[in-house]
C-alpha cells in the first residue's frame, strides 16, 4: 500500500494553460523519490497539488491519494487532518516561509501543541527538544525573530517546524537552494539523518542533480510540466534516455569540468 499515490495528475490555470500534465508516481512509507527539473517545470506545483494547497485560479485534475484520502477536489475539512500529521513541506526560502513577526519558539510551539496536545512546561521542553534535534541548541534561538538568525539557522528552524507534527511524508521543495554551498551540505545531512531516523517517506524536489543524487535513489525528470524520464538516479545520469535529461546531465558535467580545470 502506498502512502502517496499520484495518478495522471494535471494542474491548469483558469485560462486553461496546463502547468502540469499526466504525472503519476507512487511513494510507499519510508521510501524516497526525487523530482528534478528546471524552474517552471512543475515541481513546486506538484508539492502544493499533492497537499491540496494550490492557490486560487489553479485547478487540479486526476487523482492524488494521500494516506488513502482523495486530495483532488476534496473540501478543506477533509484535508486538514492530513496536513502536518501525514505530510509536511519544507520550502525553499525560510525567510518567507516563517512569519516575520513571530518568535521562532512560538512558531514551533504551535504545531507541537496542536498535534501532540502539549501545554505549559511540557510544551516548552518539547520545543527545546525539537530545536535540539535540528542542532539549534542555543536557547536564544527560540526567542529570536526570523530576521535575527542566519539563513542556515532559519532553514533548520523551518525543518523543525515541518517535523513537529511527526509527519509520515516530508516534502522538501528546493530546501537548500537559497543557502550557501557549505550550509547546503549540513542541511542535506541533517535532512538525510532525520528522514532515516524517523522512517519518513521523502519527496525531494530540486533543480540540482548533485543534490538530488545525494538524497534519493529514484528520480523523475520533469520538463515543462511533463515527466520525461524516470528511474534510478545512477542510470539516469550515466545513460539518459530523453534529450532533455541528456541536456541536464550535460550541463551539470560541463559545470563540473569548468570547476575542475580552475
Amino acid at each position: 500500500m502506498s502512502l502517496l499515490s499520484v495518478t495522471s495528475l494535471g494542474v491548469h490555470t483558469s485560462a486553461g494553460k496546463a502547468l502540469l500534465s499526466d504525472l503519476s508516481f507512487d511513494l510507499a512509507a519510508g521510501q524516497r523519490l526525487g523530482l528534478i527539473g528546471e524552474s517552471g517545470s512543475g515541481k513546486s506545483i506538484t508539492s502544493l497539488a499533492v497537499t491540496g494547497l494550490l492557490g486560487a485560479g489553479l485547478t487540479a485534475s486526476g487523482s492524488v491519494l494521500l494516506d488513502d484520502v482523495e486530495v483532488v477536489g476534496a473540501p478543506e475539512r477533509r484535508l486538514i487532518p492530513l496536513r502536518g500529521r501525514v505530510s509536511s513541506i519544507v520550502f525553499q526560502e525560510p525567510l518567507t516561509a516563517l512569519d516575520p513577526l513571530m518568535r521562532i519558539g512560538k512558531q514551533l510551539a504551535e504545531p507541537i501543541a496542536r498535534h501532540r496536545g502539549l501545554r505549559g512546561t511540557a510544551l516548552r521542553t518539547a520545543v527545546a527538544e525539537a530545536l535540539d534535534e535540528v542542532s539549534l541548541s542555543d536557547v536564544r534561538i527560540a526567542k529570536s525573530y526570523p530576521y535575527e538568525i542566519s539563513g542556515g539557522q532559519r532553514q533548520r528552524a523551518a525543518i523543525a517546524i515541518a517535523l513537529a507534527s511527526r509527519p509520515q511524508l516530508l516534502i522538501a521543495d528546493e530546501p537548500t537552494t537559497a543557502l550557501d554551498v557549505t550550509v547546503q551540505a549540513q542541511i542535506l545531512r541533517l535532512l538525510d539523518d532525520l528522514v532515516d531516523a524517523r522512517g519518513m517517506a521523502l519527496l525531494f524536489i530540486s533543480h540540482d542533480l548533485a543534490v538530488v543524487s545525494a538524497m534519493t535513489r529514484d528520480v523523475i525528470v520533469m520538463s515543462a510540466g511533463v515527466a520525461v524520464e524516470r528511474g534510478p538516479i545512477d542510470r539516469v545520469i550515466s545513460a539518459p534516455q530523453h534529450p532533455y535529461t541528456a541536456q541536464l546531465v550535460g550541463s551539470a558535467r560541463a559545470l563540473d569540468d569548468m570547476l575542475g580545470t580552475k
Binding site: L53, P81, F91, D99, L101, E110, S165
Partner: protein, 285 residues
C-alpha cells in the same frame, strides 16, 4: 584612537531624524489625557456654576476667564478633554471592530462578494465622515453614545478597505501556505498570522483616525449635533464663543488650541507607534 572614532562615525547608522515627533506627540497627547483624568476627581468649579462675572478675562479665580453665562472656562475645557478622548477612543474602537470584521470577510470572500463589498465601501468612503455622521446622529438623536457610534460607523469603511488590502497581501505570503501545510485552520491563521502582520500598518491608521474622530466630534458639536450639555465639548465651546470672539478671545482660542494639541499630538504618536508595533523595523534604525 582617532582613526577608530572616525570609523565609528562612518559606520554608525544615521540618527533617526523623526524621533522628536514621538516626544512631542507624547507630551501633547499626554497633557490632554492628564487633564481629562484630573477632571474626573477635581474641577475648579462645577460646570453649572454661573456665579462668575460674565465674559471676564483670565484671573486668579478664573484661570481662563468666564463665558457669556459666567461659567468658568477652565472647568468647561477640562470636561471637554474628557469628552474628546472618550469620543476619540470610542469611535476608533467601533470603527476598528466593524472595519476589521468587514475587511476580513471581503478578503476571504469569493470574488463576487468581495467586489460587492468593495463597491459598497467605495460609496461609503465617498461621503465625508462628517456628513455621514450628521446623517446618523440626525436619525438617532443627539447623545454621546450616538455621536461615538456615528463617527465609528463612518470611519469603519476606511478601516475595512485597508484591512482588506493588507489581509490579501498577507494571504499571498508563503508563511500562510507554510502554516496551512502543517494543518493550521483558517481561524488560527487569522489570529496568529494575519492580525499580527496587518497590525503595524493598521494601528498607525487607527491612530490617525483618532484625530479625525476628535475633529468630527468638535464639528458635530459646533453644528449643535453633538452630545447635549452638561457634556461641554470643545466644539460647542467654540460655537458659544463665536459671537464674542473680539471682546473675549480666550473663549475661542483656548478650545481651539486644545483641539490642535490633541490632534497633532496623536498624529505624531502614530508615527512613533509604527516603529514600536513592528519589531522587524528595529534593525533599520
Amino acid at each position: 584612537m582617532t582613526a577608530a572614532v572616525i570609523v565609528n562615525d562612518i559606520v554608525a547608522p544615521p540618527r533617526r531624524s523623526r524621533s522628536w515627533t514621538l516626544v512631542v506627540g507624547l507630551i501633547l497627547a499626554g497633557a490632554v489625557v492628564l487633564i481629562a483624568l484630573v477632571s474626573l476627581v477635581w474641577l475648579p468649579y462645577t460646570p453649572e456654576d454661573t456665579t462668575g462675572t460674565r465674559l471676564e478675562g483670565p484671573s486668579g479665580t478664573h484661570w481662563l476667564g468666564t463665558d457669556k453665562l459666567g461659567r468658568d472656562l477652565a472647568t468647561q475645557l477640562m470636561i471637554g478633554a474628557r469628552i474628546a478622548l472618550l469620543v476619540g477612543l470610542g469611535s476608533v474602537a467601533v470603527g476598528a471592530i466593524i472595519g476589521i470584521i468587514v475587511g476580513l470577510i471581503a478578503a476571504f470572500a469569493a470574488s463576487w462578494l468581495d467586489d460587492t463589498i468593495s463597491a459598497a465601501l467605495d460609496v461609503v468612503i465617498a461621503f465625508p465622515v462628517l456628513l455621514l455622521a450628521m446623517l446618523i446622529v440626525a436619525a438617532q438623536g443627539a447623545s454621546l453614545g450616538s455621536v461615538i457610534l456615528a463617527i465609528g460607523i463612518a470611519m469603519s469603511a476606511i478601516v475595512a478597505r485597508l484591512t482588506r488590502v493588507l489581509t490579501k497581501r498577507v494571504l499571498a505570503e508563503q508563511y500562510v501556505t507554510a502554516a496551512r501545510t502543517s494543518g493550521t485552520r483558517w481561524p488560527g491563521i487569522v489570529i496568529r498570522h494575519i492580525l499580527p502582520n496587518i497590525w503595524p500598518t493598521l494601528s498607525v491608521n487607527l491612530a490617525l483616525q483618532f484625530g479625525v474622530a476628535v475633529l468630527a466630534e468638535a464639528s458635530l458639536s459646533y453644528l449643535g449635533l453633538g452630545a447635549p450639555p452638561p457634556n461641554a465639548s470643545w466644539g460647542r465651546l467654540l460655537q458659544e464663543a463665536q459671537g464674542t470672539v473680539i471682546t473675549a478671545p480666550v473663549g475661542a482660542i483656548a478650545p481651539g488650541l486644545a483641539l490642535i494639541a490633541l490632534v497633532i499630538g496623536v498624529n505624531f504618536l502614530a508615527d512613533g507607534l509604527r516603529d514600536v508595533a513592528d519589531p522587524s523595523r528595529k534593525r533599520r534604525r
